[in-house]
């Protein structure tokens, strides 16, 4: 009776509402103290309430770790809820109180033997969540038992626990053989156990890029497919993602897998659907296109993709990002579904923008009328970003579908009439592109454009308008007045506008020389004398010199016919697209970036490639063959235009639209050189070397290095001369190997001295060591081990010291290494910690290996891929270094570097400066691209490195330095 009363009081104290919110109310000073007292209460119920309060405080981020011993004391209980609550608490705080956590071990071990499978599973699950080294030791035995438990619920929980343990201590998991047990579980009779084993293995495999943990063969595939039908939706996702990594042996196997995966397209869970789409998109590559089944499959892919768009907006967003990829790879799938991408006014903005992108990709002659009507509608919406993109989209339609160009132009004119400021500006920017695509067709609208000159306040729109005025100066009566009006505030304009204005006025001068002499002089002096911007100054000087020495040549150069721009300007580069298709449904697919671009650290990521089409029998793992097969299959018009790439390569100030079509006629070297100058930026390439006018004259006098023949190559524009080098690299010299240094002094090695170095010989990385016995006794039983390191270096065999090492004797040992060992990021990156054991003791030392050891022999990138990759890697990942005191010619440099597997892909000479474009591939698949500038007579070279894993740049530079100086 008394207890009843006391509880009543307690209830009143908490307030009348019997909910957990009461736990939020106690924020008083003595809270911890009060809780402590309650936790140690004799009354079970009071204890439980107290633990609940503790948990509630924990969930809101309050620190209740001081209560650790008191809470752990509540652990031994028959009350399952109380037990669970204590477990929750333990998981959260064990890390900060490792010694206390040990107290709990016994209870865990006991619970792992409990007759109730729920308790066994709970115990092993919780134990795995306690991230304390000391606890993990005790975990091994219970875990081993649980992995073989008779109850599948326990087995599946244990499978996940292996992944947890691996996260805490990978070595332990390997040593204990848990990985093998996990692999065995793939053949388990229970589908859920299979799914969890696959999930755990996939997660572990992610930290071991080179390991073959998920060794997929037709038997395992069959087991996975069987489990696929019976396991939960989440399990299906794991299994499908795992299947996607498999490469079928032939088209028949490919088809049979597709057939068994297709039903997943009707799953209610959109993640299952998208993972199934990934498997199908990948395996379809292997099916012959004339196969009936191929057509059936294509038809089956459309409805589920459309259905994804009726889900919640967040799901829609991810789906749209993926559809964007799918549409680029296989436009036929959704070509009839344009309408589902129509924007609803209450779609979130991120969905709207994605839909718009896809609408343009799907636009064709057949549906252009509908698309245009929609776009026009969107251009009157509220959201500024969206409106801008819609206006741009109209321009892109004009460029993409020639038949619609006229309609697009008139729509744009209508929009300009609205006088809405940002609409007008966007419209002018795209009209400039339309002029470039269809020259001499729509110039009648120029008058309308000129009316809006005053309202333009964005640099891009101003630059576009100025370009138009300059380009069509002869048709605009008051062109000089218009340009002059811009000139007034010349120094307040952005560089983009200044450059454009300079060029436009020069054009105007060449077209109407009599009236505009004063204007051109004014702009030239503004650009050369009053400006601090080197790009502007250089361009000004070039024009000045050109106009003063040879006006005819100037006319040829400045008014040369410009190449047409291509249809689509923002397509994803084909090799990247292929890789992304293999990553459908992942974060990579959302960012449209390969996983290597954002997976942290130097964990290598295997680049995935689509399999080749039927019968090709090519190995898919090799990126070279894979991509070659894929590109040949790729739909037309996906090849990114080189002009654009070069633009980025040279850091243009103004991105000119891409060029396609036949390269411009190369009438004279002079014109050629100047041509890309007009395209917008050779001047930045010429850089600061053009300071004096004499140097500039020489620059123009010298014929470009490119032989005219190279223009027959499919690469267009001024890029060819960049790549005139061909395969013309001389015989490579041997790989560089640094001299031996002492790694372990005899003082520290109890008489054993080790000096050594690394070398790469015939594609094998070797550690070459001299072991010297400076002690008085004979040394035997040598063995070596490496700690985990950044690139997974590990001994490929045992240390071969066959004879005992007598005092004062030395022995040379060569240890071949491989790169499949465990990976851990080191600092510095190329640090290697080594343990050498002999009969006396174990010795530890660390050494640094030149990263050039890891440069593999197939590191020569295709030129096109090089360009595309260079463009794709963000400028943030670029690093520049100086190599001082190097007296080599550029040819000697490329020879020397090639000896160490740094391949020169192209060479370009500009004004006495050689630019070498080089690629290198590391053993873990990371590519490093380089631009090396060598100036004759200048012993300082500049090397510019771009890499998706910028951490390696510093090490790679060190290798450059070392190789070139030895």
């Amino acid at each position: 009776m008394q207890e009843w009363a006391s509880q009543l009081c307690e209830n009143r104290q908490f307030g009348s509402k019997m909910t957990d919110s009461k736990y939020f109310t106690t924020t008083k000073k003595g809270e911890i103290f009060e809780l402590k007292a309650e936790l140690n209460s004799d009354k079970k119920e009071k204890k439980k309430e107290a633990v609940k309060k503790v948990i509630a405080s924990m969930t809101v981020g309050k620190d209740v770790s001081a209560l650790f011993p008191d809470v752990v004391n509540c652990m031994q209980t028959d009350n399952l809820e109380l037990k669970k609550l204590v477990y929750l608490y333990l998981m959260n705080y064990a890390k900060s109180q490792p010694d206390m956590a040990i107290m709990a071990v016994n209870t865990f071990v006991k619970d792992c033997e409990d007759p109730n499978p729920l308790i066994r599973a709970l115990a092993v699950r919780t134990m795995g969540c306690i991230r304390v080294d000391k606890i993990t030791e005790y975990l091994c035995e219970p875990l081993r038992k649980c992995l073989k438990d008779e109850d599948p619920y326990v087995r599946k929980t244990a499978a996940v626990c292996v992944a947890k343990l691996h996260d805490i201590n990978a070595q332990l998991v390997e040593d204990q053989g848990f990985l093998d047990t996990l692999k065995d579980l793939i053949s388990d009779s229970n589908p859920m156990v299979v799914a969890n084993a696959v999930a755990a293995l996939s997660e572990i495999a992610e930290s071991h890029p080179n390991s073959n943990l998920l060794d997929l063969n037709p038997q395992t595939i069959n087991k996975l497919l069987t489990a696929l039908n019976e396991c939960t939706e989440w399990g299906q996702i794991f299994i499908l993602d795992c299947l996607a990594n498999y490469t079928p042996r032939d088209d028949r196997e490919s088809q049979s897998i597709c057939e068994r995966v297709t039903p997943r397209l009707s799953h209610a869970n959109s993640a299952v659907v998208l993972s199934a789409v990934k498997v199908l998109m990948k395996f379809m590559e292997m099916l012959p296109k004339d196969l009936d089944y191929y057509g059936t499959l294509l038809k089956k892919l459309a409805p589920p993709l459309v259905t994804l768009l009726s889900a919640e907006p967040e799901l829609q967003y991810v789906a749209l990002r993926n559809i964007n990829l799918i549409v680029q790879r296989r436009p036929e799938i959704l070509k009839h579904e344009m309408k589902v991408f129509f924007v609803k006014y209450n779609d979130p903005i991120y969905v709207k923008l994605e839909k718009l992108d896809i609408m343009i990709r799907l636009a064709s002659q057949a549906n252009i009328a509908q698309v245009l009507a929609e776009l026009k509608e969107y251009a009157t919406e509220v959201d500024v970003d969206f409106v801008r993109k819609a206006v741009r989209a109209i321009g892109r339609c004009a460029i993409k579908v020639e038949q619609s160009a006229e309609r697009c132009v008139s729509t744009l004119l209508d929009l300009i009439q609205t006088k809405v400021n940002y609409v007008v500006q966007e419209a002018i920017v795209v009209i400039k592109d339309i002029f470039r695509k269809y020259p001499n067709k729509y110039e009648s609208v120029i008058a309308t454009l000129c009316e809006n000159l005053d309202s333009l306040d964005e640099p891009e729109a101003r630059a576009a308008m100025i370009w138009i005025v300059g380009e069509y100066a002869e048709r605009i009566d008051n062109a000089d007045e218009l340009l002059e009006s811009f000139l007034e505030g010349f120094h307040d304009e952005s560089t983009q506008v200044q450059l454009q204005l300079l060029t436009a006025i020069v054009k105007l001068f060449l077209k109407k020389p009599t009236e505009t002499q004063e204007l051109v002089q004014q702009v030239l002096s503004l650009a050369t004398q009053d400006s601090d911007n080197p790009d502007l100054r250089d361009r000004g000087y070039i024009y000045w010199r050109l106009l003063s020495t040879d006006p005819v040549a100037a006319k040829e150069v400045v008014l040369a016919e410009k190449p047409l721009i291509s249809e689509e300007t923002d397509l994803i580069e084909p090799t990247l697209l292929e890789e992304l298709i293999c990553h459908i449904g992942t974060l990579a697919s959302v960012y449209h970036k390969p996983p290597s671009a954002f997976v942290e650290g130097s964990r290598g990521v295997q680049h995935k490639r689509l399999p080749g089409s039927a019968g090709s029998g090519e190995s898919v793992e090799s990126p070279d063959t894979g991509s070659a097969a894929g590109v040949s299959d790729a739909p037309p018009a996906v090849i990114p235009s080189q002009g654009d790439l070069l633009g980025d390569l040279l850091n243009l100030d103004l991105t000119p639209p891409a060029t396609t079509g036949p390269p411009p006629p190369a009438t004279s070297g002079m014109q050629l050189g100047a041509m890309d100058l007009l395209g917008g930026g050779l001047d930045s390439l010429l850089g600061g070397d053009l300071g004096g006018s004499s140097a500039m004259g020489a620059g123009f006098g010298a014929p470009p290095a490119a032989p005219a023949a190279s223009f027959s190559a499919p690469v267009s524009g001024g890029l060819d001369d960049l790549f005139d080098l061909g395969g013309g690299v001389g015989m490579p010299m041997g790989a560089y190997s640094p001299p031996k240094t002492v790694w372990l002094p005899a003082m520290k090695g109890k008489g054993l001295e080790i000096s050594g170095t690394f070398a790469r010989r015939a594609g094998v990385i070797q550690m070459e060591m001299t072991l010297t016995n400076k002690a008085m006794s004979v040394m035997t039983d040598f063995a070596i081990q490496f700690n985990r390191n950044s690139f997974g270096l590990a001994p490929a065999g045992p240390l071969q010291v066959l004879t005992p090492l007598s005092p004062n004797q030395s022995i040379e040992v060569t240890l071949p290494l491989n790169t499949v060992g465990p990976v851990m990021k080191m600092d510095p990156l190329n640090n290697l910690q080594v343990a050498v054991k002999n009969n006396i003791d174990v010795f530890y030392f660390s050494c640094q290996y030149p990263i050039s050891m890891l440069f593999v022999e197939d590191g020569k990138m295709e030129r096109q891929v090089f360009l595309a990759t260079w463009k794709d890697i963000s400028n943030d990942n670029e690093a520049q270094f100086q190599i001082k005191d190097c007296h080599l010619s550029s040819d000697a440099v490329s020879n020397k570097l090639q000896g160490s597997n740094i391949f020169t892909i192209a060479k370009r000479t500009v004004d006495g400066q050689d630019m070498l474009y080089q690629s290198t591939k590391l053993s873990n698949g990371i590519w490093v691209l380089a631009e090396l500038r060598v100036q004759t007579g200048n012993p300082t070279f500049t090397v510019c490195l771009k890499c998706r894993a910028p951490e390696v740049s510093q090490c790679v530079f060190q290798s450059y330095d070392a190789v070139l100086k030895n």
Partner: protein
């Protein structure tokens, strides 16, 4: 996989966190809050964000952000689906998914999250499995528990988790055996100024409420299954039977569940139940405009249009409206600038009309955008696609259940451009 979950209120207050691996500091949410600040409207926060060390994947439900943090490559859809499942579960347990309710039930929330995910892998997400392990709170039970020291955590192994039918628990018993199916169709449509259909499609779902004893095996067949070419099923539906015979054969979960959802695409003709005659215009000079809207029945298949509601988000520069409705009532929200006209039943003899003047801030330019009109409505006893259930058969049990099918058609995202 999923590392951590943060629940963040509408206003940006982080009120609950749960970590399945090592603890990630809540400062990671700053990136999200920054994006939220930038997006303005909470609905416009992009669902996938990248930070230097983590990925943030979030959903917005019930004025709450469910923000998950991951460190490795993970399928974002998987995370988003899971987050929605968490929100569904809260709704299921607490009747609604709101900050207040979650705070009131923190411990249960914490227990649920622990059961739903292990090391970032989903563990138990089926409502009936969860309910076996953690009983939903009821006022009665919490009082009883307090008095008796009982617990709301089940001590038995959740049977459903391992059987071949993980969605159904064993030993279900009812005195009244009943199976009800609701065929609910939503019309998503965009009509242009002139009333022409720009785009229309039907999103359909069949929601089931099945309370049957034992292990019943049901077969639902349709008069016209050919209509359904794009379908998503609850995992209980046997896909093979559907492919070969076009019937839904399944062992149902216990209670309420969504049996299937389907999509009748824009390729087929979609009947549009109402037409809208509208004219919204703003004068070039003077700060005012006119509004005139009339709604009439179009293809209603002989049914009455009910619960008709019209929403018009006005341009921001609109100050007030002065309208007259011939039927129903209208309101104008001064902060959101939304005109809401609750019409009610649509009478074909006397068409409802809303007309009057709009006044704009003096000096503000004529609004550039045209407001679009959103229509809500309901038609009982009709599936607008024409889908009809022909029969429901039960095998495996001997008793005779009550059966019923209900049809309803609603407007989904139904908008008229002006």
């Amino acid at each position: 996989m999923i590392n951590s979950l943060f629940l963040i209120s509408h206003s940006g207050d982080i009120f609950l966190e749960k970590h399945w691996k090592s603890v990630i500091s809540r400062s990671v949410c700053d990136y999200f809050l920054e994006a939220k600040e930038k997006a303005g409207d909470p609905e416009n926060v992009a669902p996938v964000l990248q930070t230097p060390h983590h990925y943030l994947i979030s959903i917005y439900r019930g004025k709450l952000f469910f923000l998950s943090v991951t460190q490795t490559e993970v399928p974002p859809l998987f995370v988003i689906e899971f987050l929605h499942r968490v929100a569904d579960t809260f709704q299921d347990y607490f009747g609604d998914c709101s900050e207040v309710l979650i705070k009131e039930n923190t411990v249960t929330v914490y227990e649920l999250l622990e059961e739903m995910l292990d090391n970032g892998f989903p563990l138990a997400t089926e409502s009936n499995v969860l309910k076996e392990m953690i009983r939903p709170p009821t006022i009665l039970r919490s009082v009883v528990n307090t008095l008796t020291g009982g617990s709301n955590v089940g001590g038995t192994l959740p049977t459903g988790q391992l059987s071949n039918v993980p969605w159904r628990r064993a030993g279900v018993k009812y005195t009244n055996n009943e199976a009800y199916f609701d065929v609910i169709e939503e019309i998503d449509a965009i009509l242009d100024k002139s009333g022409t259909t720009v785009f229309a499609e039907i999103q359909g779902v069949i929601e089931a409420c099945v309370k049957l004893t034992g292990m019943p095996d049901l077969t639902l067949s349709f008069m016209n299954p050919r209509l359904l070419d794009d379908v998503s099923f609850h995992p209980c539906v046997r896909f093979k039977r559907w492919e070969s015979e076009h019937v839904l054969s399944f062992i149902p979960p216990d209670g309420n569940f969504r049996l299937m959802s389907y999509h009748v695409s824009s390729q087929n003709l979609v009947a549009i139940p109402v037409y809208v005659k509208q004219n919204i215009s703003f004068l070039e000079t003077g700060s005012c405009g006119r509004l005139d809207i009339t709604i009439g029945p179009k293809q209603t298949m002989g049914k009455t249009v009910e619960s008709l509601m019209v929403t018009i988000p006005m341009p921001k520069s609109v100050l007030s409206v002065n309208l007259t409705a011939t039927q129903g009532t209208y309101t104008f929200d001064l902060t959101t600038k939304v005109v809401l006209w609750d019409v009610g039943k649509l009478n074909p003899q006397k068409l409802p009309n809303l007309r009057g003047s709009i006044s704009i801030q003096t000096g503000a330019p004529k609004p550039e955008e045209n407001p679009s009109i959103n229509i809500d409505m309901k038609l009982q006893q009709l599936a607008i696609s024409g889908l009809k259930v022909s029969r429901l058969d039960m095998y495996g049990e001997k008793y005779k259940p009550f059966k019923g099918v209900k049809y309803v058609t609603k407007a989904g995202k139904f908008q008229v451009r002006t």
